[in-house]
Amino acid sequence: MKQEIFAFHIRQALNEGAAHIDYKSQLRLAKAREAALARLKPSPRPQTISVRVPTLQLGTAAGPSLGSAPEGGLWRWLRGAGLAAPLIVLVVGFIGIYQWQQMRSIEALANMDFAVLMDETPVETYADRAFSAVLAGDTGSN
């Protein structure tokens, strides 16, 4: 209790003393205080924070709209992007399969034609339907 009374007296004495300080000293003290405060904490830049907040709010605002407004541009874009990858895979895959199938059929055809070309029987014989009949057992004799 005594300590509190003592502290009160000291504060009173300081306040009374401060009232008697001359103008120049007051100004110097005020400047020193400002300089000390400026060194103590960096400038808070409240403007920068206020700029960032709307950006974050925009991002957050898109969230709830996913459920509530499916027609939203962002949602549509996301949906489109989600489907684009499988679609691209599908198209590229189909093109690949088609090319591979084409290559295979050309190879098979080339193998067959090469065999026909290298055979001893004339190609005209093979190309004649009459030879088909002969191969089928039709001798053509009346």
Partner: protein, 178 residues
Amino acid sequence: MRLGRLLLASAALLLGAATVFAQAPAPRTAAPARPAAATPAAGDGPAWSQLTPQQQEALAPLKSDWSNLDGTRKRKWLEISARYPSLSPEGKQRFHERMVPYARMTPEQRVTARENFKRAYTLPADQRHSAVQHYQELPPESRQELADKEAAKKAEQAAKDAPQRKTRPAGESQPAKK
């Protein structure tokens, strides 16, 4: 998660398509009964000047006809030409001699040639030789008669099969019935 499922579905679809493609008959180089010179894509594929000297040597008899071939036929001939260097001198000569008449056949004739070749090689060698010999001994009129009969049979069979296979072109893949 959803993307993963979609990718999985796409992969399954592609696998299905690949299976269907693999089981499907090889695409025809041209429709039957269409003259070789009238192929719509004639001029496609590499020009004669773009071929390597080795390819030009192998396909020399086709030089004058090369620009009239469509892309698929060019690719087929290029594929065939890759086998040329491994042939003996006699083989190379035979290859060149038979190449021109074969290339100048109608697509239908080539289809028949492939079919007959396949059928001939299902027979034992002696039967095959005697069939060739029998054919060569036939007078032209008998050959014509047999060819007409075979064509009629083929047309009949094609008409019978048509409703069952609307998507497959008639002719090439269907072997002639006995």
